[in-house]
């Protein structure tokens, strides 16, 4: 489904991501782990088109998306979340989500001026899509509340819903469980599983919470200093001496 071939990203002479090749299969949960500064977020930015790789290729279902801008990549079915999601605080949750389906609509200025049938149809579709995504993440009951009034955990779920409203094939989740308590973390793991099982999505996540990763991920890729040092199932990665070395020698917080 997503194939990354020898991708390198240089920032001012330094390789943030260095010659990484990996393949993510449809309907699997893939995790990217590694110490802070290992290039995980940069890797996401390369896939989603926010950054262009210095070299290498990225294929989505066989289509070369290497140098496409991120809005085009999103339209091809790559949804993503960020570590922090800025939303319109003084608007309702539902209002914030409606724009998620914008990329599947075509209405422009003229439609707004004449309030065209197409606009009305598309706005209804976008609203339905937003509601559906909200129900999927289990937040239908806060649809009418302001973003400013919902909890941290609910915000994270809203960010999921926003990505889901774009009708993605693959979702990239950047630290989905950061800053939530252990109980809620379990809830997020279940939600990701549900995205795969019920929607047939491919999930790719960056995470520091090892317990969650080990029990959830079908495949784990380990990055260190921009390079891929290991790849495989939880069991394989856990017992890989290179990985153990990287974690023991590196950041404490990543091992926590």
């Amino acid at each position: 489904m997503l194939k990354v071939e020898h991708v390198t990203k240089m920032f001012g002479g330094l390789a943030a991501v260095n010659d990484v090749s990996v393949e993510f299969e449809t309907g699997k949960i893939n995790a990217i782990i590694g110490p802070n500064g290992a290039g995980k977020s940069t890797f996401f930015n390369l896939i989603s088109g926010l950054h262009q790789p210095s070299s290498g290729r990225i294929l989505l279902d066989g289509v070369d998306v290497t140098n496409l801008p991120s809005d085009k990549v999103a339209r091809l079915g790559v949804g993503r979340t960020f570590q922090t999601t800025n939303l319109f605080e003084q608007a309702t949750v539902l209002d914030n989500l409606i724009v998620g389906h914008r990329l599947r609509t075509k209405s422009g200025l003229w439609d707004v001026l004449i309030n065209s049938k197409r606009l009305q149809r598309e706005e209804k579709a976008a609203r339905d899509k937003a509601m559906e995504a909200l129900e999927f993440v289990g937040l239908a009951h806060v649809a009418g509340q302001f973003i400013a009034d919902i909890t941290q955990e609910e915000r994270k779920r809203v960010a999921f819903a926003l990505a889901l409203a774009t009708d993605p094939k693959i979702v990239l989740l950047d630290e989905p469980a950061a800053g939530v308590n252990p109980e809620e973390t379990v809830g997020f793991a279940a939600l990701m599983r549900k995205m795969v099982d019920e929607k047939g999505l491919t999930v790719c996540l960056i995470e520091h919470k090892m317990d969650m990763i080990m029990s959830l991920a079908d495949k784990i890729m380990v990055l260190d200093h921009g390079e891929k040092i290991a790849e495989g199932t939880a069991e394989e990665v856990r017992n890989n001496p290179v990985v153990i070395e990287a974690y023991l020698g590196g950041d404490e917080d990543a091992a926590a």
Binding site: L50, Q90, D95, G100, L109, D149
Partner: protein, 343 residues
């Protein structure tokens, strides 16, 4: 109190305001008051434009006053120097500000945040310098005289204050109507998504450049419309129309009224114009009050009168159906935030 407030928010309130605006010339004490109100409406139209690019789209455009001046000068020069009659020149002013807005937009909107604000600050100043120095075209510091008034097709005489007031009111209603429709539409939501963050918007498949340029052109066209009306009303303009202080004034109106809201630009503009009018001593030193007011607003009420009011209304309506669960969640949020700041 809550009931009174919710009455204010019903659609009826808008018709009430419209009725008041229509009746205003009849209840005004003198013609001068009608003139002041018409001026306030003209500025309000320009502030609505600023609201599109800055309020919705989140890009602080400091050249807005410059585009107002371009609208005024286009109309002024076309009618005074080139013999056009008002309405064709009026259209010309709209086209001119839209085209120039497009050209400035495709260059300036590639820049992010601070760079965009600084760049447009400079663009605004270039506009002022050109108007001031390019004497062959603009008459420089002398200004443009003998600008045509709107042609009334033999039905009305727009050189009179009251008919002109109604003309401005009609354009204002049109401007607000479009703003209302825009804000609820997918296009308006797209602009707001860009305000929330460039990267997030892009990850939602939004083409940043195309949408920002569209918002920018809409905003400069609003400014051009206001400028053209202004020129048709005062019929004498000078380089001072492009003074950066006009942009700062408009930012103040927008902030006080409520940035990113529908009624904010109108309430802020009309409110402040009348306050400064009624307190004459304020005219020159009004910024001693409005400067700190701007600071206090962005610190304590960043969404101005209208925004704060809407938020308050919403909270009230949520509170009318209180659930225990919500309160628990509130506590939860506080704990979470604390935990996060400790982490």
């Amino acid at each position: 109190m809550f009931k009174v407030a919710s009455l204010l928010m019903t659609p009826a309130a808008k018709y009430l305001m419209l009725a008041f605006a229509i009746l205003f010339p009849l209840v005004a004490a003198n013609e001068y008051q009608v003139y002041v109100m018409a001026t306030a409406f003209v500025w309000a139209i320009a502030v609505y434009g600023l609201n599109i690019i800055t309020g919705f789209c989140g890009q602080l455009n400091l050249a807005h006053g410059g585009f107002f001046a371009i609208g005024a000068y286009t109309l002024g020069l076309l009618t005074a120097d080139y013999g056009w009659s008002f309405w064709p020149a009026f259209l010309g002013a709209l086209v001119m500000t839209a085209v120039l807005g497009f050209l400035v937009g495709i260059v300036s909107l590639r820049l992010k945040e601070h760079y965009f604000a600084i760049f447009t600050l400079c663009v605004g100043f270039i506009i002022y310098l050109l108007i001031d120095k390019w004497e062959e075209l603009t008459h420089g510091a002398i200004g443009v005289r003998d600008i045509a008034a709107p042609y009334g097709f033999g039905l009305v005489d727009f050189t009179d204050t009251t008919p002109f007031y109604y003309l401005v009111l009609a354009f204002l209603v049109l401007a607000i109507w479009f703003m209302g429709r825009l804000s609820k539409s997918l296009l308006g939501r797209t602009f707001i998504a860009i305000r929330n963050g460039d990267e997030l918007a892009q990850s939602l498949g939004i083409n940043l450049m195309r949408n920002k340029v569209l918002a920018f052109v809409l905003s400069t066209t609003y400014a051009g419309l206001a400028g053209a009306l202004y020129a048709g009303m005062v019929r004498f303009i000078g380089p001072e129309e492009a003074n950066i202080n006009h942009t700062f004034d408009m930012i103040t109106y927008l902030l006080v009224g409520g940035i990113g809201t529908i009624m904010g630009p109108l309430l802020g503009t009309v409110g402040i114009v009348w306050i400064t009018q009624s307190l004459q001593f304020l005219e020159e030193y009004r910024m001693i009050i409005f400067g700190p007011l701007l600071v206090l607003l962005v610190i304590f009420f960043p969404r101005g009168i209208t925004g704060s009011f809407l938020t308050w209304m919403h909270r009230k309506s949520q509170a009318l159906a209180p659930t225990k669960k919500r309160q628990e969640k509130k506590v939860n949020t506080a704990q979470n935030r604390e935990a996060e700041s400790n982490a």
